[in-house]
Symmetry: C2
Subunit: 306 residues, 2 copies
Amino acid sequence: MRILRKTCLLGACALLAAGAGAAADKELPPKPSVADIVKASRAGDWRPLDPDNTLYMETAAGRVVIEMAPAFAPNHVRNIKALARAHYFDGLAILRVQDNFVVQWGDPNEDNDKARKVEGAHKTVKAEFTVPLKSAGPFTRLPDRDGYAPESGFANGFPAGRDPKTGEAWLAHCYGMVGVGRDTDADSGGGTALYAVIGPARHLDRNITVVGRVVAGMPQLAALPRGPAPMGFYDKPEMNVPVIAVKVAADVPPNERSRLEVMRTDGAAFQSVLDAQRDRGGPWTKVAMHHVDLCAVQVPVREQQP
Amino acid sequence: MRILRKTCLLGACALLAAGAGAAADKELPPKPSVADIVKASRAGDWRPLDPDNTLYMETAAGRVVIEMAPAFAPNHVRNIKALARAHYFDGLAILRVQDNFVVQWGDPNEDNDKARKVEGAHKTVKAEFTVPLKSAGPFTRLPDRDGYAPESGFANGFPAGRDPKTGEAWLAHCYGMVGVGRDTDADSGGGTALYAVIGPARHLDRNITVVGRVVAGMPQLAALPRGPAPMGFYDKPEMNVPVIAVKVAADVPPNERSRLEVMRTDGAAFQSVLDAQRDRGGPWTKVAMHHVDLCAVQVPVREQQP
């Protein structure tokens, strides 16, 4: 009882409990879970993070690792790296947590005369809301319905939409995706204010520049207190969560780097992961969905294997 | 600058900033936001919570208000009310927070000899994963695509799916929905272990009994620390978040009740809310989505107006 109750609740133990069901004839057949697929995967199913396109945001809540997507926002990624290397973010803060929407960080003083100066980088960069299809690189298309894009799938690990008619591709606002805050003008962002998605936000797709994805640290960001002011802003300076430093991983000594690898989204192992999330096996699951939403897909990330 | 940066970020200030844009010819026309629609709504667009089908869960993190859905799970709702009235939950705990999935509460000792006894209620209740279409009551169908259900929409404020072919309706696992933990056997739950959804979980639809929705208190639940054990369980008793008491609102003196009202989902105001979330107006928004996911729809809840 204990094992079932504590480890099988909500469908995560299909194989573990296989054979335990009394009504096996009514059950879905067992099938490998994502954990099983990860366990059976080979080295070639994974890729390391590129240190030159990875950020470490050291916060009072721990390290947040962001994989950047230069294929989708080359100029913003270049600018954010320049900001990081100029220590723009060091000493700033997480200043907004809007429940079921976004966590945002930047300069608490940006609108007053103590505003951090932007040096060695640009304050604004021309919008990169979409890119030409061929710039986005190889695309693993999902057969599943998507209401927000004519086609959706994964481009080098990032959830993305595409429109063959317009010839555009764009990153999708799924959980953990990182975007560039802006004002009303499309070209008014540059990376000095960034946010990570913690709820349904795909109405922002093609309306804002998305620069990457948090691959480690979301549990800490998502558990921060929600801000009491409108739109989830913290209303007292002491609520702000310090951002100690943001660094490009390549600038960090190798022994201080997070050694993570991400499952390749262009291979067979990922197809199995998609299938495992689209149609779960029994005996816990009684009805298979035959569907997985783009933003419900979890791309596996793990410590690099020795 | 401050107003735009602080109040308009991520598209929530369309009307406020109207006329401020330099490139008005390229902007989407402004249109009412959800806040505008709420402000312009009439008393008849709202309904109060029914005290007999509302639970107050008093926790160390504050009060959580749960509206129950007897149309979808009559026997579980009856049983959970009986459990609450027998003080079953008082002194138990929130014992699991799995990032981007669920927050769960129940008896930390359920698997040992200190387990809380179930008195005046049933330990298990036959599964209520779906109900006949006509039992679900009036349905406001969304025209938007849904990958998890042939038809989706709202039934008396609750997100729901339907299948005309099988004649079934069911509650959908959107943010804040409350479900009944169970073991492998479909009939093994009864309401002693409950969870609230904090991430993509629609693969649980029709696989578990859903009993209602948190209408106040999600920001506190969703900000609880994630559990370090597998599936997000807390691994030390001191991590558990005390559940002080769970009461049926009707049993609470009127002056201690939360006076909330929910926008009716069968009226014109809600259609405007849907439209405002499906196609946002300019000038912040540059591209309208022509779509809103079932679980991206926010049904307005507010303090009862005097």
